[in-house]
C-alpha cells in the first residue's frame, strides 16, 4: 500500500509536527518525545491522559482538548509508546490533583504505562490508570477484564474528561472511567486488511469474506465470515453487543459507528441506519449517535459499533461540552 510519507522512521514525529502546526492555539508538544498536552493545563483539576500506538488517528491526538483528555503519548505505528514517552506526558500534564491514564487493554500498552506509572510515582506524582476493555469479541463474558480496548475509548474519554472538568478527585475520575467501561461494548469487522508504513499487508481477506472481531492493529479477526449485506453484518454485531451488555427495554445508550479507515461515511450512515432500526425493535433508546472515523487502523476498510449505556451521571457527563480538533459536543442537547 502506497502512503504519503517520507521516511518510515519519521512518520510519527513528522505527523505530530504537522498536527501541532495546525493546532498551536490549543496544543503543544511535550519536549523531546512524541507526546502532546493541551495548552494551559488547569492545575486545579485532575488531568486525564491517554496514548498508545500510532495509526489510529484521530485517536489519540484527537481525544485531547477541552472537556476530553489533557495529553497523549504516541508510540510508533501499532506499538505502545515507551515508558519514557509516557512519563514525560504524565509530567507535562501533571496537576495538584494528579493524573489519570486511560489505557486500552493491550499487553504492550498496559506494560509500558505500568512501568511509566511506577517511574512517575517515584517522582512523587499522583497517578492512576483505568483500562478500556470494550471489545466483546476478544474474550468471553465473565472474563471482561481480559478484553482488549477499541473505539469505545472515545466515549470513555468523553465522560472521564467531563468528570475531571467537573472537579472529580483522581479516585472518582478513575471510578467513573471504570463505570463507563463496564457499561460499554464494542465489536469491529474488517473488509480489507491494512499495511504498516514500509510493509505489505499482513494478510489478505478474500473478495467474498470479511473478518469478524478485529482489534485496532490490523491483526486478523477472531473469525473469517462470508460477506453479506450490510444490514446482516450489522445485525450480527449488534446482537452480540446487546446480549453481552444485557440491554433492556427503555435502556438509554450512546451509539458510536466508527469507520476503521477506508470506510466511506456513506457506508457508516447505512450501518447506523440498521443499528437504529434494531434498537428501536428492542425498545432501546438511542440518546445520541456519533458516526465517523475516530479510531482507525490505517487504511483498513471496516466498521466498529460501540454502545455506552447511560445512567444519570454518565448522561450528564456525556452531555458536557467538549472540543477537540476532531470531536465536539456543545453541551446543550435536550
Amino acid at each position: 500500500m502506497k502512503k504519503l510519507i517520507n521516511n518510515v522512521e519519521d512518520v510519527v514525529a513528522e505527523s505530530l509536527e504537522g498536527f501541532l502546526m495546525a493546532n498551536r492555539r490549543t496544543h503543544q508538544q511535550v519536549a523531546g518525545v512524541n507526546g502532546l498536552v493541551v495548552n494551559d493545563i488547569n492545575k486545579k483539576k485532575v488531568s486525564v491522559i491517554t496514548g498508545g500506538g500510532s495509526g489510529h488517528e484521530p485517536v489519540f491526538i484527537g481525544l485531547t482538548g477541552e472537556g476530553m483528555a489533557d495529553g497523549a503519548a504516541l508510540g510508533s505505528v501499532f506499538a505502545s509508546p515507551d515508558p519514557h514517552t509516557i512519563l514525560e506526558v504524565i509530567k507535562g500534564a501533571n496537576t495538584d490533583e494528579g493524573v489519570l491514564c486511560l489505557v486500552i487493554n493491550y499487553a504492550g500498552d498496559t506494560m509500558n504505562f505500568g512501568v511509566a506509572s511506577e517511574l512517575a510515582e517515584l517522582e512523587g506524582i499522583n497517578v492512576a490508570t483505568a483500562l478500556v476493555t470494550d471489545d466483546v469479541a476478544s474474550a468471553p463474558k465473565g472474563q471482561e477484564e481480559e478484553r482488549r480496548g477499541i473505539a469505545g475509548l472515545l466515549l470513555v474519554t468523553k465522560v472521564t474528561g467531563a468528570a475531571a472538568q467537573e472537579g472529580y478527585t483522581l479516585t472518582e475520575t478513575k471510578q467513573v472511567a471504570e463505570k463507563a467501561n463496564e457499561n460499554i461494548r464494542s465489536l469491529s469487522v474488517a473488509l480489507t486488511p491494512c499495511s504498516l508504513p514500509g510493509s505489505k499487508a499482513n494478510f489478505t481477506i478474500e473478495e467474498d469474506a470479511y473478518e469478524f472481531g478485529m482489534g485496532i492493529h490490523g491483526e486478523p479477526g477472531i473469525q473469517k465470515k462470508k460477506l453479506q449485506a450490510a444490514d446482516k453484518i450489522v445485525e450480527e454485531m449488534v446482537t452480540v453487543i446487546a446480549d453481552d451488555l444485557e440491554l433492556q427495554e427503555a435502556d438509554e445508550v450512546v451509539v458510536l459507528v466508527n469507520g476503521t479507515g477506508a470506510t466511506s461515511l456513506l457506508e457508516l450512515n447505512i450501518v447506523h441506519r440498521q443499528v437504529g432500526k434494531l434498537m428501536e425493535n428492542k425498545g432501546v433508546v438511542i440518546y445520541d449517535s456519533i458516526i465517523g472515523s475516530h479510531c482507525t487502523s490505517l487504511e483498513m476498510a471496516g466498521v466498529s459499533i460501540s454502545m455506552l449505556r447511560l445512567d444519570a451521571e454518565l448522561k450528564r457527563l456525556y452531555n458536557a461540552p467538549a472540543y477537540t480538533p476532531y470531536f465536539y459536543k456543545r453541551g446543550e442537547q435536550t
Binding site: V8, E9, G53, G75, S76, V77, F78, A79, S80, P81, D82, P83, H84, T85, Y106, A107, G108, M111, N112, V115, A137, S138, R148, S195, L196, G198, S199, N202, F203, G213, G215, H217, G218, E219, P220, G221, I222
Partner: protein
C-alpha cells in the same frame, strides 16, 4: 573461548544488534500472520538505539553494559516486546558485578531476565511467547555453565530454535496473537524467533572470535 572481556562483550552486542536489525522484514512477516506485523520494526528500533549507544560509550562492568542496553531498549522500542526484551538484559542488575562474561555469567543474566519477564508478562512455557525459546535456552546455558561460551551459546541457540518450532503447536494466550487463539495454531511466535536470532548472533560472534 571461555570468556569475553567487557569490550568483546560490547562487540558481541553490537554484532547482535546488526543481525537483528537485518531481520526486520522476517520478523514483521511472522508477526503479521496472527499479530499486528510490527515486531520487526520494534526490534529494529530497539537494536538501532542500542547500537548507537554502544558506539558512543564504554562500560566498567558487564552489568553496566547489559543494563544500559536494556534501558535503551526499554525507552526506545515501545510495544509489548519493548518491556519484555529489555528485561532480558536488565536481568544483569540482579547479579553481582562482573568484568568478564563467562557461560555462567551469561546464564545468570538470562535466568534473572527470564524471571523478570515472567513476573511482568505472566506468561509461562507453552503459552506461545518468546519464553518458549528463552526458557529452554537458559536451561542449556545453565547446564553448560562450566563449559566454553561457544558450546554454551551453541546449545542455547539450538534449544531456542527447537522452542520456536514448538510455538507452532500451541495456541497463543498472551500478546496480540491471543485474540486469534485457534487461528494461531501452526504459526510460529515472532518474539520466540527473535530470541533464537539473538542466541544465533551471540554464537556466531563467539565462534568467529575463536577462528
Amino acid at each position: 573461548m571461555k570468556q569475553l572481556n567487557i569490550q568483546e562483550t560490547q562487540n558481541m552486542l553490537l554484532f547482535m544488534a546488526e543481525r537483528l536489525m537485518a531481520s526486520k522484514e522476517l520478523l514483521c512477516e511472522i508477526d503479521g500472520k496472527v499479530g499486528d506485523g510490527d515486531h520487526g520494526f520494534g526490534i529494529e528500533r530497539g537494536f538501532k538505539a542500542v547500537k548507537a549507544m554502544l558506539e558512543e560509550n564504554t562500560y566498567a562492568t558487564i552489568n553496566e553494559l547489559f543494563k544500559a542496553s536494556g534501558m535503551t531498549m526499554l525507552h526506545s522500542m515501545g510495544g509489548a516486546s519493548g518491556v519484555i526484551f529489555s528485561q532480558l538484559f536488565l536481568g544483569a542488575a540482579a547479579i553481582p558485578e562482573e568484568e568478564k562474561l563467562t557461560s555462567e555469567i551469561l546464564a545468570q543474566v538470562m535466568r534473572k531476565g527470564l524471571e523478570k519477564i515472567k513476573a511482568t508478562g505472566k506468561a509461562q512455557l507453552g503459552d506461545k511467547t518468546m519464553i518458549d525459546a528463552l526458557e529452554p535456552a537458559v536451561l542449556e546455558l545453565e547446564q553448560e555453565s562450566s563449559g566454553s561460551l561457544e558450546e554454551a551459546t551453541g546449545k542455547a541457540m539450538l534449544a531456542a530454535e527447537n522452542g520456536v518450532e514448538k510455538t507452532k503447536e500451541y495456541p497463543a494466550k498472551f500478546g496480540r496473537a491471543k485474540f486469534v487463539y485457534e487461528r494461531s495454531i501452526g504459526v510460529q511466535d515472532a518474539g520466540a524467533t527473535t530470541v533464537f536470532l539473538m542466541f544465533e548472533a551471540m554464537h556466531t560472534y563467539i565462534s568467529q572470535q575463536n577462528e
